[in-house]
């Protein structure tokens, strides 16, 4: 198993490197002169030229790429065009905020969707199953801003149960922060629920129809024991991988939700960077979420291997 983890890590590093290449060279396609963008349209051409040289814009592409990558490894993400200051602190702060929002969404959605999936499977073909399946499916594909709007209108504006903005303000208490984050978390929960519930459902159905479930029942065990002891550990195994890969959808949702609720997370950061054509910020942001996603998938793969006896120990004896 150790070899598997090492191999997987190696693959992750390769993919990460590929990602950095893609991001960097994609960034080169984007129009605009960095020096001009930083100093603004009124600055003198000579000053722009000097800054460009300082930034190394005229050096060969590969050299620029190398400089960028080594810079990244030292925590230097370049200079933001918008703010004329280092990108890294912005990314850091935004990441923390997004993690808070994302974590809240996860804490709500994971138990809820697993429960939903298992209940649906236990009632296969019957009414509870159809309701959970169709609802889950629909919830997954309704865009976050749509559900967000509906929620804002109903709970924020009309009923006034929750604040409409996601930011509690500097130094707010934990409870207050939570209060502000609930409304934005719900669209994320809806997006993730359907997919996780579906995997949990599929895994549970497969376990229920398996030969070993039959063996367990025919041993004379109670149904609840069969489910608890024999079925769940097999059905939830594939679900674990799915949960980690959902980070992808989560991040995509963050862009929209943070914009809608005006929350200074990494999604909003990327969005504003894109609209403002602040390419260093944009590249750094995109790379960061790429890293986050790959770390999540790596954890999921390793977790799956550790938990699955077939993979942990290898082939037949």
């Amino acid at each position: 198993m150790a070899t598997y983890i090492l191999r997987r890590l190696g693959l992750a590093v390769v993919t990460l490197w590929l990602l950095s290449v893609i991001v960097f060279f994609a960034g080169q396609v984007l129009p605009g002169d960095p020096g001009r963008a930083i100093l603004g349209p009124l600055a003198a051409q000579s000053a722009v030229h000097a800054l460009d040289q300082q930034l190394g814009v005229d050096r060969p592409l590969l050299a620029q790429y190398w400089a960028w990558v080594t810079g990244l490894l030292h925590g230097n993400m370049g200079l933001s065009y918008q703010f004329r200051s280092p990108v890294a602190p912005f990314i850091g702060a935004a990441l923390v905020n997004s993690v808070k929002l994302g974590a809240l969404a996860f804490i709500i959605v994971v138990p809820l969707s697993i429960l939903g999936g298992v209940v649906a499977a236990l009632n296969y073909g019957r009414f509870p199953d159809r309701v959970i399946s169709v609802t889950g499916l629909s919830a997954t594909t309704v865009p976050e801003f749509v559900s967000g709007i509906v929620l804002i209108v109903i709970f924020g504006v009309e009923l006034k149960w929750f604040p409409v903005s996601a930011s509690a303000g500097a130094g707010a208490s934990f409870g207050s922060q939570l209060d502000h984050l609930i409304l934005p978390a719900i669209p994320l929960v809806l997006i993730l629920f359907g997919y996780i519930a579906r995997m949990a459902r599929a895994g549970t159905i497969e376990a229920l129809e398996s030969d070993y479930a039959r063996t367990a029942t025919l041993k004379g065990l109670k149904r609840s024991v069969v489910i608890r002891r024999h079925i769940l550990r097999n059905s939830l195994l594939p679900t674990i991988t799915v949960i980690a890969t959902q980070t992808g959808y989560l991040i995509g949702g963050l862009v929209v939700v943070e914009t809608l609720f005006n929350y200074q997370g990494i999604g909003k950061l990327i969005f504003t960077a894109a609209t403002a054509k602040d390419f260093p910020m944009l590249e750094a942001g995109v790379l960061t979420i790429g890293v986050v996603y790959m770390v999540a998938t790596l954890i999921a793969d390793v977790l799956y291997t550790v938990l699955n006896p077939r993979l942990r120990l290898g082939g037949t004896g």
């Binding site: 070993y212 039959r214 063996t215 041993k219 004379g220 097999n234 006896p309 120990l313 082939g315 037949t316």
Partner: protein, 686 residues
């Protein structure tokens, strides 16, 4: 002719309450809003300590009986009539708690695929111990008892196996563990549903012997369900024959198989080669017609549409169960005439004129195939030398890991063999990759696969499936193609109207006929038959085999016939080759290989396979499991299990060469042939 009252029929245990009493059982499934009866008026009893066999083909309902007994019918199934009593109690009327009790202590089941019957995420020991915990024992004690039980099922290192996960066990070991779980509860009734179908012959023999021993020790009643008549004959005291949901004949096993009293049983037994029957002796008989579709409700006898002696009374009303002897019944108005059932297929058979041993049509030399690399190399084939003579049928026999499938695929060019392997066709070398072979070379070598569901593209029509090789290999088109298509369809005994159908709309036998038509479309010279009838019902097998023999005579082709069924191999083959772990152990004329003297492995294989015609008294029991091909034993690869291993140590150190011990008979064994003749008591009455 009065109907027999089953409750008055004597049971084997002689008067005491039977363990199982099923009376007039009807089981119905609801499919798409329609009711279909899967079991109709089934009645039988199993006495204490008795072994009862339930035999039938697909659609007979035999699995449904087991499901009904344990009350594990699927959601759309129900018992619509009749009663079941197990140890006097009625499982259908019980509450949930009583039902769990019944399953925990009274009835146990063993199913077909042992690997899947065990939970892949829980250690084997825990799963066996669970049975004891249900009986009320504490955790530690349950584990101890589990280990003891594993030892009882002849697992040699039970402590180690307890710590393993199911996927780490071989098929035989896993099935032993499942049997251990089943018997741990010391049930009154043990139900076995095709328990050895997925196992190799030698492993199957061990498991069956184990079941027989344990049954005696625990005095458990056994319900043994199988489609394999020979296994039932070996394991059961009494047998019931199921056809289309009805129990059409019942009685002591030996008597039913030697003197059947129902036309279906008679026909079924004639489909199987008996007593060393060979193709020279004549064709296998077949049963006309098709198995009825589930849910058909015939007015009269369920077998009447296919019965050659059916009369009006047979079609008018279903026959009751007539007593036809001591403890025997038969659901046939004409049961007295059953034995004289006229043949459906003429006996005479045209055998192809063989052979020109000087110029073999295919020659394999030093054929080897290694999968994987370096430390994990698996040697599937090692230095195989083989030749096929024109017009002959060479039977290829071997268990799993023998390499027989690899050999077939390498010959066809589907798998590239190792460097140095030689494949010759008519004296000229064949490219190892099918993609580089000429059209003529591809035409010459074709294959009939085991599983027609996998071998036929389910999206193509029959017409398209057969036309494809006609145009690609035979180069035909237009009217000539259509003519040849019609010819082919006739020669595999199909009808024109079936041309427009897709494989999913055909029965197993019909699908295999399509596969055979495809193989013969290009006018091949050699056809590899890879277990061509293993996926088919017994009554269908005979028709396909007859077809293969007929085609061979008509088209003068050579067959490489691969099968695990020794009876079929003996029937069809002129010569036989025995493979073990990728090496040829023995090759020679069929009769000589079967009669002896033969290789110790062949000897063990032959003695392991159950036969309908009674058991040999001196069973050779092979110890251990088939070794892994990744780590083969040194010297002669069979020495780890060989009961006749020489004490000189030669068998462990040197691999014996394949050498001729008699004209045309080659063997790879250190023991001289004369010694083997004495040891195996060849020529003496068994």
């Amino acid at each position: 002719m009065t109907a027999a009252d089953t409750t008055a029929a004597p049971d084997a245990a002689g008067g005491t309450r039977p363990t199982v009493a099923v009376e007039h059982l009807d089981v119905t499934y609801r499919v798409r809003g329609q009711d279909r009866r899967a079991l109709r008026d089934v009645s039988f009893q199993i006495g204490g300590g008795e072994s009862y066999g339930l035999v039938g083909e697909s659609g007979s309902g035999k699995s449904t009986v087991a499901l009904a007994l344990t009350r594990y019918l699927p959601r759309n199934g129900r018992v619509s009539a009749g009663t079941i009593r197990i140890n006097g109690t009625d499982p259908l009327a019980m509450g949930n708690a009583a039902l769990r009790d019944l399953r925990a202590h009274t009835v146990s089941m063993v199913y077909q695929e042992p690997g899947r019957a065990l939970n892949p995420s829980i250690k084997v020991g825990r799963q066996v111990a669970e049975v004891y915990e249900i009986a009320g024992l504490g955790h530690a004690e349950a584990l101890e008892r589990a280990e003891g039980m594993l030892r009882k099922v002849q697992i040699s290192d039970p402590h180690r196996v307890m710590e393993r996960y199911p996927h780490e066990l071989s098929g035989g070991m896993a099935q032993r563990a499942v049997i251990a779980m089943a018997l741990a509860a010391e049930p009154s009734l043990l139900i076995l549903d095709e328990p050895t179908t997925a196992l190799d012959a030698t492993v199957e023999a061990e498991v069956l012997d184990l079941v027989a021993e344990l049954r005696e020790e625990f005095a458990t009643s056994v319900l043994f369900i199988s489609h394999n008549l020979a296994v039932i004959a070996k394991m059961c005291d009494r047998v019931g024959v199921l056809y289309a949901g009805e129990l059409i004949e019942e009685g002591p096993a030996r008597e039913v198989f030697d003197r059947p009293r129902h036309p279906y049983t008679v026909g079924l037994l004639r489909c199987i080669p008996r007593r060393g029957q060979r193709k020279d002796h004549g064709r296998l008989d077949t049963i006309p017609g098709f198995l009825p579709t589930p849910g058909d409700e015939p007015k009269g006898c369920v077998f009447a549409p296919r019965c050659p002696i059916a009369e009006d009374q047979c079609r008018a009303a279903p026959p009751p169960a007539f007593p036809v002897g001591d403890g025997r019944t038969s659901r046939c108005y004409l049961n007295e005439q059953a034995d004289d059932l006229p043949r459906n297929t003429p006996v005479n058979l045209e055998i192809p004129q063989v052979r020109d041993a000087e110029r073999p049509v295919v020659r394999l030399e030093r054929l080897s195939k290694t999968f994987g690399s370096r430390g994990e190399a698996v040697k599937a084939l090692v230095g195989v030398d083989l030749s096929l003579e024109r017009g002959e049928t060479l039977g290829l026999v071997g268990e799993s890991g023998s390499g027989k499938t690899t050999l077939a695929r390498a010959l066809l060019g589907l798998i590239p063999p190792d460097q140095g392997s030689v494949i010759d066709l008519d004296g000229g070398p064949l490219a190892p990759d099918a993609r580089r072979r000429t059209r003529d070379e591809l035409k010459a070598l074709q294959i009939v696969f085991q599983n027609p569901d996998s071998a036929l593209n389910r999206r193509h029509s029959v017409r398209r499936l057969i036309s494809q090789p006609l145009s690609r290999l035979a180069g035909l088109s237009g009217a000539r193609l259509r003519e040849r298509l019609a010819d082919l369809v006739r020669s595999v005994r199909m009808e024109d109207r079936q041309l427009g159908l897709r494989p999913s709309q055909l029965s197993g036998g019909l699908k295999q006929r399509v596969a055979i038509a495809r193989a013969f479309a290009g006018g091949p010279r050699i056809v590899v038959c890879d277990e061509p009838t293993s996926a088919l019902d017994v009554s269908v097998q005979a028709a396909i085999l007859n077809l293969l023999v007929d085609l061979q005579a008509k088209e003068q082709v050579t067959y490489l016939f691969i099968s695990h069924d020794l009876g079929l191999v003996r029937y069809l083959s002129d010569r036989i080759a025995v493979l073990y772990l990728g090496r040829i152990m023995e090759i020679g004329p069929a009769e000589t290989v079967f009669a002896g003297p033969h290789h110790p492995y062949t000897e063990a294989l032959l003695s392991a396979v159950p036969s309908l015609d009674g058991q040999r008294p001196d069973r050779i029991r092979l110890q251990g499991e088939i070794p892994s091909a990744a780590n083969p034993p040194s010297g002669c690869v069979f020495h780890t299990r060989c009961p006749r291993k020489l004490s000189t140590g030669e068998c462990e150190s040197t691999e014996p060469p394949l050498r001729e011990v008699a004209p045309g008979h080659l063997m790879s064994c250190h023991i001289p042939i004369d010694r083997l003749t004495v040891l195996q008591r060849v020529g003496q009455a068994p």
